[in-house]
Symmetry: C2
Subunit: 456 residues, 2 copies
């Protein structure tokens, strides 16, 4: 490995020789002194060089007559010139003298440049801080060099590791379910299809069937973090054709209440880890205070939530029994004002707007043992107890217009015994968007995919 000190570690070092490496964020090339802001994955530091300019006197000395080293030497001239020529984004390795100096705004230290090696030159960047989101996505690898952008993915790393640690400590099993399927996993709509040798395959819209299979296999509890695909032609700030889905499923539940309890535990652990590790940086870059949610989260049956927004005079512009995004925003606002909470479970959705595999209420089949989780105004997850009685499941599939024959491989999971179970799927990019107060999942996805975006 290149010997170097990460910039975040400079503060703890005494004054003296150091090597740092990263990319040039800015150059201030003044007559008498040159400054470089050098950034690496851990932070930024100021590098300084007393400029040595070629003499402009008519009686200028030839370079060959310059002193061998020190100010005015050929080496000093060359260093000054190479700094003047640096383009933003160029990767360099610098050895120099670290000096702590409280007057330096950036971290109270600077490095006086001894030698500077250009490792990889950069063309002039085509994007600026005020470039459109679309242009920034065209140049995503440059956009991600902003510390605010890379912080999103450090937060993602911490969040996912905290969730997985909870699962692992509970004895849940990590599975990787196939994304190539012989049938649709959610609906025939929004389905990507491909030629597959002598037949066709579909891209998994969710791991639903396969995470339920693990319950029939007696795995007890499972989790998966992986891609899901929807041929969704919409262009909202919340939709993508490919997204990372956080999934879990577990057995021996009594109702969706057990699923919500695990959901709360996971989110509290994830938010705690993010607040502990990145709280200060998130405040600095996003002006957001990450709050660890209190458990239990508020729960409101969907019917009551609809009454609440109706009393506010809002008419939900939908023909079906569902909430709309504005209704979700309003009920979230209501919960924040009433309970001081950023999360709310809307529960007991109507069977008419839920998939066939959601279990229905005993005694009232018009309602399901299900919920949506709303976070800061936007739905981030759907969870439910699943119907595990095969004859009920088959009837519900028929009622939804599905052919049980097409689902036979799935129905088999239930014909050979399966305990009561449930789980949820949660969109990673949505959680991050709402946690950080961003306006679109395009900001919180490493490489967004939409109907007109497959590049880079």
């Amino acid at each position: 490995m290149t010997h170097r000190t990460l910039i975040q570690d400079l503060a703890a070092l005494p004054d003296g020789p150091v090597t740092v490496a990263g990319w040039v964020e800015t150059v201030r090339d003044q007559k008498k002194v040159q400054f470089i802001i050098l950034r690496d994955e851990s932070g930024a530091a100021q590098l300084v060089n007393p400029a040595t300019r070629p003499s402009t006197d008519s009686g200028a000395q030839e370079p060959s007559e310059a002193p061998a080293e020190g100010p005015g030497s050929a080496a000093a001239l060359a260093l000054t010139e190479s700094i003047s020529a640096l383009s933003h984004g160029t990767f360099v390795r610098v050895t120099g003298e670290l000096k702590h100096d409280e007057r330096v705004k950036l971290g109270g230290l600077e490095v006086k440049i001894g030698t500077l090696e250009v490792v990889s030159e950069a063309l002039e960047t085509p994007i600026a801080a005020d470039s459109s989101l679309d242009k920034r996505l065209d140049w995503r690898f440059l956009d991600l060099r902003q510390p605010k952008q890379s912080l999103i993915f450090r937060v993602q790393t911490t969040f996912l590791h905290a969730l997985r640690t909870v699962w692992v400590e509970k004895g849940f099993i990590e599975i990787q379910t196939p994304k190539l399927m012989a049938s649709a996993s959610e609906s025939r709509a929004e389905l990507f299809q491909l030629e597959y040798f002598e037949t066709v395959a579909y891209l998994a819209q969710s791991p639903q069937f396969f995470k339920q299979m693990a319950q029939s296999a007696g795995f007890g509890g499972i989790f998966e973090v992986g891609p899901a695909f929807r041929a969704d032609p919409s262009f909202t700030s919340r939709h993508a054709t490919e997204f990372t889905s956080i999934d879990t499923e577990f057995s021996w539940i009594d109702s969706h209440e057990d699923v919500m309890a695990l959901h709360e535990e996971l989110l509290a652990a994830g938010f705690q880890a993010v607040a502990d590790t990145h709280g200060d940086e998130i405040r600095e870059f996003f002006d957001v205070e990450v709050t660890v949610p209190q458990r239990p989260f508020p729960r409101i049956p969907l019917a009551e939530a609809k009454r609440i927004v109706a009393e506010q005079g809002y008419v939900i512009p939908r023909a079906d029994d569902d909430m709309d995004p504005e209704g979700e925003r309003r009920i979230s606002q209501y919960v924040r004002e009433t309970y001081g909470h950023e999360f709310v479970f809307l529960t007991d959705y109507a069977s008419s707007i839920r998939p066939f595999y959601h279990m229905r209420h005993e005694g009232d089949p018009s309602l399901t043992n299900s919920y949506d989780l709303i976070f800061n105004g936007v739905e981030i997850s759907t969870g439910a107890q699943r119907e595990h009685r095969v004859e009920v499941l088959e009837a519900q599939a028929r009622e939804k217009g599905l052919e049980p024959e097409e689902l036979s491989f799935y129905l088999d999971f239930f014909r050979y015994g399966v305990p009561p179970h449930g789980g949820f799927g949660m969109g990673l990019a949505r959680v991050l968007m709402l946690m950080l107060g961003e306006s679109s999942i395009r900001e919180t996805t490493y490489l967004f995919r939409g109907p007109t975006r497959l590049l880079p």
Copy 2:
């Protein structure tokens, strides 16, 4: 949640009332006593019931005249009958009396059944211990009920969590790269293509381009565990059309030696965690001793490895410069005998058999800064230093018959500056197969996908 005690926790409980829940593995229905082996995700236990049979005397009492409870009661008769009727695989919940008894082979304890609730009945299982692999895969959810099979995925969970913990502690960033791409990521061969709105998309054969993008983005080090897709028509025990790839990539390396050092560290941590957590069970079910590999692993340049197997009289049946699977098996055997090691890095592969993005030796462009990692005779990974100088990269792409125009989005990552970097991709199912001495990745993949297998 259903109140229950996991079977693995029974041993630590005193004699007394317990509730257990799981599926019926076997029933021994004797005249005077009935035994059930009940299994859950943690283990198996023996349940016992003193049988109450209807009297066969001609002067038999009517059931209504039976005692209200205890032996001979209607309840006891019903319990005996429901146990007789149990099919294998049925999920039940049982309350009873735990009794420690050293004479019971299975764990030195049994549970005398008080009540038994059939939670989910099962059809008779269509597979047996000696069913063919293909038939077992048809019924994968039943196959996975065998403790040996589910252990594979508990090992997987432990292994992956150990690797991720190493990465997280090093400050690496977890990314999820898109699986939908506008171009091939490895080669035009073995590429799945799909209609994508007004255009076509391809399924990622690897995250190669996108993990390199993170280096240009200044992320420093990244990791990803996710699916990769190859339209590979082969039917070997080592190939699949969809597989889980373990990927990492990091900056500021000097050569592929740095990549191998990280690779060793990750594997040692993963094997240590698996040995600590599952060593005994792996010995029991697989008759395998999990050995934590000593670092450094042996390294042999490919040319020398070929000389070694040639000296054994083996002629590699290939027209190109590569090893074949039998050669890999032989060199692995040689390393085991010579160095007592299960792993070997074969290094410095010929440029002719490596992708255009592998860096070549300074001074000898016929060789690359790359390696394959062989574990117990089979290749599990390819790693390399990447070429980061855009003009060299472009020339190497041309030499391999690729059109730089098609790769322009990728070449841009290098035009705007990128530090020296490298990484590896490793097949999860292969690691597990070789760690556990299994004969096929079909055994160590949750749901195998091959040219003729898309179900379940």
